[in-house]
Amino acid sequence: MLRLEHLDLRQDDFRLQADLTVPVGARVAVIGPSGAGKSTLLMAVAGFFAPVAGRVLWDGQDLAGRAPGDRPLSILFQDQNLFPHLTLAQNLGLGLRADLRLDAGQRARVEEALQRVGLAGMGARKPAQLSGGQVGRAALARALLRERPLLLLDEPFAALGPALKAEMLDLVAELADGATVLMVTHDPADARRFADQTILVADGIAHAPWPTAQLFADPPPALRAYLGT
């Protein structure tokens, strides 16, 4: 269970407050106008943005002071999810051992992960030889290998077409396998397709997650303003 306890994020004029709980295994969309702080919220959970007050708790444990890589989570950024000078297999291997000294079993797991995301046999390629969708798949495969209970998606598929994006979201859903997923998006269709719950970030507040269908059926004023309905 992810708990954001009286979290207060500030940077210059920007301010975002969050006090909410995300149940284990939930697939949650984080939606709201650009600049509201959707990404910042994710960065705070991931450990890249220190809150001025409040705590980020996982299963009751405070994550403060734990380096991003040591937190019980994997994150996919908007871009730069793969190192361009390393092969796909190496990029995936980093998810198992950061020093890449993999044994035969681990190399087999990398190959298996590639296969599961539809990139079988492409381990020797460099990211520059891949399409945008394939880069996303590779990043997902690495998250899969890391086996962390929380997956953060900071709009990694924003640049993909609707059909491809839908495909990727289905792949995330398929691979998540009990993991809790937090996905930033600006597209209500993504939320409806993927997320059973939605966190609305607007006017300096990250609201508690709400069933997605209900939220869009009867949007609160802030969401109505964002949707333009």
Binding site: P68, G69, Q90, A98, D99
Partner: protein, 512 residues
């Protein structure tokens, strides 16, 4: 704790650099005492500034169209020419001057041509000659730096510009000008600094009351007039001058926030029409200007190569050991200080750039005065040369590595952090591969510069245990011109081989 000890390494390294640069300058000042500047000293100061400014301006102005032509044109021998761009800067200065004299000297082909055309002869001595030699030595350096700058513009940006229908003009304004604004002032400032402390050029092509630099005045005060007091005063002036320019140069060098490309080869559009003609002309003229003096040295030195005395072989071996050790030392130091600077410690940059404000001559004099009372200086000639050369190479390596390291930090450190890629693994898997290109280039530069250096070694070496450049100089002094030219040719070959090996290592690991 081990990590605490590791964290202290950059600080320790910075202290050593400070001791070598500021410490040695302080030693000369204390040894010498004081004394005011005479009219000749002021004239030397003015000449130093004038020739450095002219050299920097001409080098920078010519480098922009040349680098651009080299980046966007594909022609036979392009790779060779790009590698050759490193040549004059790597050429031992004594040898470069020899080549320039052969081409631009009184009886050289250029003046013969001028005479046929009925034009007045061009003098290669004085201000003309010093600026000519400095442009010859530095134009390729600036060009290489700019080519690296162009290569660092993501291919995606050029594609975007083409997609937006930008012609060469708007593309220059939106893509290339920002890069130039970030790269060129730093490059020009570097040339200015180099020319402030360039000693051998002034010694050979300058001289006399009208064309004497501060460095030359220091050397003469020490070696001929035996006036350490006067030398110390001049050294203080030189140090203040270089320190001021260094600080100004640091402000000029900014890093542009280009996003990350995917590491593809640069694909800059190559417009036709008159631009094609201008590019071709730039490439042909530059190739001629840079090649002719090199060919002249080959022409004169090649016949004697088969009959070199054994002393040349030993001198070459000594030079190789000193060059490789000092280059590796400088590369490791630069990498450590760059990482510290990227981690937010600004003093690391200050320490790494400090040797720019020192000169080999000032450092050498300080060390000489320190060593002399306790040990025979000849015995320490090679270690001291190695140490001073490594220190002098540090700023170049640092300057070459820093922009790439900052870009690396901006683009990939978040990802590295999220994967717990730290310490030795981060160095091996992220930092070294991403920095391989400038690291290889810079280490090669340091090795070749050390190989051809004639400064500290001249102060320290005795009759035996000389390095190859010093041997060339001594053979020249003894009027054994053919042996000198041949030894010079060997020196050039070894310097280039060292540079080529390191640069190639970097390029190969960057492409992989």
């Amino acid at each position: 704790m081990a990590s605490r000890a590791v964290a202290l390494i950059p600080a320790l390294l910075a202290l050593i650099v400070v001791a070598l640069t500021l410490g040695s300058a302080a030693v000369t000042a204390v040894w010498g005492g004081g004394g005011g500047l005479g009219p000749a000293d002021w004239a030397a100061l003015r000449f130093t500034l004038l020739q450095a400014a002219l050299s920097a301006a001409v080098s920078a102005l010519l480098a922009v169209p040349l680098a651009r032509a080299l980046v966007r044109r594909r022609f036979a021998g392009r790779g060779l020419l790009l590698r050759l761009m490193a040549a004059p800067f790597l050429l031992p200065v004594v040898v470069a001057v020899l080549g320039l004299l052969a081409v631009f000297g009184r009886s050289g082909p250029v003046n013969s041509l001028l005479a046929v055309l009925g034009l007045p002869a061009l003098s290669v001595f004085g201000l003309h000659g010093v600026v000519l030699a400095h442009v010859f030595l530095n134009l390729p350096l600036v060009t290489r730096m700019l080519v690296h700058g162009w290569q660092a513009i993501p291919a995606e940006r050029f594609r975007l510009a083409q997609a937006l229908g930008m012609g060469p003009g708007p593309q220059f304004r939106h893509l290339e000008l920002p890069m130039l604004r970030a790269t060129l002032p730093g490059a020009a400032a570097l040339v200015f600094l180099l020319c402030l402390t360039s000693f051998a050029v002034a010694l050979t092509l300058g001289g006399g009351p009208k064309a004497s630099t501060v460095e030359l005045a220091i050397y003469q005060a020490l070696r001929f007039d035996f006036l350490p007091g006067k030398a110390a005063t001049l050294a203080a002036v030189q140090f203040a001058l270089c320190a001021t320019v260094t600080l100004a140069a640091m402000r000029l060098a900014r890093v542009e926030g280009f996003g990350a490309g995917l590491g593809r080869e640069v694909e800059m559009p190559a417009p036709g029409g008159w631009r094609r003609g201008v590019d071709a002309l730039m490439i042909v003229l530059a190739a001629g200007f840079l090649l002719a003096p090199l060919l002249a040295v080959v022409w004169r030195g090649a016949p004697g190569l088969v009959a070199l005395p054994s002393s040349v072989g030993w001198a070459a071996a000594r030079s190789l050991v000193v060059a490789v050790l000092s280059a590796v030392l400088a590369a490791v130091a630069a990498l450590v200080l760059v990482q510290a600077r990227v981690a937010g410690r600004r003093w690391a940059e200050l320490a790494a750039m400090l040797p720019l404000a020192a000169s080999g001559l000032v450092m050498g004099t300080g060390l000489f005065l320190l060593v002399q009372p306790v040990a025979p200086v000849e015995r320490l000639a090679l270690p001291v040369t190695m140490l001073v050369n490594a220190t002098l190479a540090l700023p170049y390596l640092f300057r070459l590595l820093l922009p790439e390291a900052l870009r690396l930090e901006a683009d990939y450190v978040r990802l590295a952090e999220s994967l717990s890629l730290r310490g030795a693994a981060r160095l091996r898997l992220l930092v070294l591969p991403r920095l391989a290109r400038p690291l290889g280039f810079g280490t090669g530069l340091a090795a070749a510069l050390s190989m051809g250096d004639l400064g500290v070694i001249a102060l320290f070496a005795g009759e035996r245990g000389v390095t190859l450049p010093l041997l060339v100089q001594r053979l020249t002094g003894a009027y054994r011109m053919e042996a000198a030219a041949s030894a010079a040719l060997l020196l050039v070959g070894l310097s280039f081989a060292l540079f080529w090996l390191f640069d190639r290592w970097g390029a190969r690991h960057a492409a992989a």
